[in-house]
């Protein structure tokens, strides 16, 4: 961005960039020869009267919602306040986070592997991945969780040995999978099936020319995926993954069937006791809102990171926008200048 040089008084004007960013620029003084008739006019942004009306409407609606939230006593905000930081709620929150984080890691780790398997040349790997996705996207999570947790019901004893032959090592099934283990297994394994599709979709979106270029350079296959394809696919993988992670955070609530102490379960126990259903669900909602917010912010920066290269010029960050706005607020005169010859 050109800056005014000292000693050369130049008019400063502002253009709004594509994304609404003010750009300060300096124009040379117009020479008599070509000075156009509109040199010297102020540049003002486009008018959108409809937008103002709509904004007012939205603001009004928002005010109504907020007022009804605050004024309607059925929300019982005092109860919400009491339970928001209730020890067992916090404990449940921790349970949720721990579960969601572990399941995310397992899900996306295994999911990426499955996606690459489905896109591989080997019919075997393809079919295994396909079969996995087919089964794990179909089986209700609750069935899976119950099965993992109650494996002992079906198979009281696990044995390692020759298939269909004698077993060598025998383990009591009950000792293998505990509550957290069953929950993580169930969530992680089914998440992997969904994540695999997300990763695969991202890879499909990458231009064929990129695969060809990588192949023509003789880059080994895993490295092609890792270094060339996946980073470009991330642009579409990130938003949908955050979707999935948010879904997973909330999805942990199905582990109530295992009586695992996550947020929703805790809240359920409390309202089961005191019948304050709505305020306690609000407590859960508020915590989910906090988690979603954190994830959304992370998503914003991740998306930005992976947009490098896909966009000619990156849009400014919110921080940059605010700074730019503050900077230009000082200049009251923004005058249009057709330039002369340099």
């Amino acid at each position: 961005m050109p800056r005014p040089r000292a000693g050369q008084p130049r008019a400063v004007r502002r253009h709004r960039g594509r994304e609404g960013t003010p750009v300060t620029a300096v124009a040379a003084p117009p020479t008599a020869a070509v000075a156009p008739p509109y040199a010297g006019l102020r540049v003002v942004p486009a008018r959108h009267p409809g937008r103002w009306v709509a904004t007012a409407g939205v603001a009004l609606l928002l005010a109504m919602v907020v007022s009804s939230l605050v004024r309607n006593e059925h929300w019982e905000w005092d109860v919400v306040a009491t339970y928001l930081t209730w020890p067992s709620v916090l404990e449940g929150l921790w349970g949720t986070l721990r579960l969601a984080a572990t399941a995310t890691v397992i899900g996306f780790g295994l999911g990426t592997v499955l996606a690459l398997m489905r896109l591989s040349r080997s019919p075997l790997l393809q079919s295994v991945a396909w079969g996995y996705m087919w089964v794990f996207r179909s089986v209700p999570l609750i069935l899976q969780l119950l099965l993992w947790y109650n494996l002992a019901y079906l198979y009281p004893e696990l044995s390692l040995g020759i298939p269909f032959g004698p077993g060598f090592v025998h383990v009591e099934t009950l000792d293998v999978v505990d509550k957290f283990g069953a929950a993580v297994l169930g969530l992680g394994l089914s998440q992997a099936a969904y994540s695999a599709e997300i990763v695969r979709a991202g890879i499909l979106g990458v231009d064929q020319g990129q695969h060809e270029a990588a192949a023509s350079l003789g880059i080994p296959r895993w490295r092609q995926q890792w270094r060339v394809v996946l980073p470009q696919a991330m642009r579409t993988i990130v938003p949908t993954s955050v979707n999935e992670i948010i879904g997973l955070v909330k999805g942990t609530s199905v582990v109530y069937v295992l009586a695992y102490g996550e947020l929703f379960y805790m809240v359920g126990i409390i309202y089961g006791r005191n019948q304050r259903v709505v305020p306690l669900l609000l407590v859960a909602g508020i915590w989910y809102l906090v988690i979603t917010t954190v994830l959304t912010v992370a998503q914003y920066y991740l998306e930005r990171h992976y947009a490098k290269g896909a966009l000619r010029t990156l849009p400014p960050t919110p921080r940059q926008r605010v700074l730019a706005l503050l900077r230009t607020r000082g200049h009251l005169t923004r005058v249009a200048q057709g330039g002369g010859r340099a």
């Binding site: 540049v43 003002v44 330039g339």
Partner: protein
């Protein structure tokens, strides 16, 4: 489709700290052919993108037939101002300016014919039934009649470039901006495509062509503009600029031509 009158005033454009265009002024009169020459990276493509308002200028203005591209003059209570146009109006202005990208940017999911027909129908509101025969005719002129139903990725480089040209022509714009329209063409086709372009010029369309074909410049151009490092170094009739360049930089450039 009579030619538009294009005037650029003091255009400036920077990317970060890199100033790509410094104060470019240019006038292209209706029906004239202006050829822009210049080394790689001198800002030729950027200049065309600014004319089309695909990129916002940092300073300066583009005027088409006396109308500012991207702004309008308005008298408000606080005196006369320049108001930025809404996107809708900018899009309307663009239908009068055709643009052939250096990288073609064809729509890969549409067939060749659909690529050509899309804009006249959806941007200019013409009837598909009217546009289609015209589009086929254009494709025939660039030698692609048999590829009407292929998709861009099934075409060779030269074929893609010709589709891009046909797509821009189908809009019947009053100003046409070509960014290296013959780079992927063989000498035979260069001849044919230049014929099409020449026809356009005679039809009155205003042409701005970025090219490295000095021969073409010599033959077709009314004005040759030589750019270097974001500045217009020299401009004038081809005879003068190409055969008797006054500026050192132009001389050096032309000396290298094979």
């Amino acid at each position: 489709m009579s030619g538009g009158h294009l005037r650029l005033h003091g255009l400036r454009k920077s990317y970060g700290t890199l100033e790509v265009l410094h104060e470019v002024d240019l006038e292209v009169r209706p029906g004239e052919v202006t050829v822009i020459l210049g080394p790689s990276g001198s800002g030729k493509s950027t200049l065309l993108r600014l004319v089309n308002h695909l990129e916002k200028v940092d300073a300066g203005f583009v005027e088409l037939d006396g109308e500012l591209v991207g702004y309008e003059r308005r008298t408000t209570r606080r005196g006369e101002v320049l108001r930025e146009l809404k996107e809708k109006d900018v899009l309307r202005q663009r239908t009068r300016i055709g643009f052939v990208f250096q990288s073609f940017n064809l729509f890969p999911h549409l067939t060749v014919l659909e690529n050509v027909v899309e804009a006249p129908v959806s941007a200019q509101g013409r009837r598909r039934a009217d546009v289609e025969p015209e589009a086929r005719e254009l494709l025939t002129r660039v030698g692609l009649a048999d590829k009407a139903d292929a998709r861009p990725r099934q075409l060779s480089g030269g074929q893609q470039q010709r589709v891009a040209i046909a797509r821009a022509l189908a809009m019947r714009p009053s100003v046409l901006l070509f960014d290296e329209p013959t780079s992927a063409l063989d000498p035979e086709l260069v001849g044919e495509v230049l014929d099409v372009i020449r026809d356009l010029a005679h039809g009155g369309t205003t042409l701005v062509v970025v090219t490295h074909e000095i021969g073409f410049a010599r033959e077709v151009a009314d004005t040759v503009v030589f750019m270097d490092a974001g500045r217009v170094v020299e401009q004038g009739p081809p005879d003068q600029v190409l055969s008797h360049p006054r500026h050192e930089r132009t001389q050096a450039f032309l000396a290298k031509v094979l």
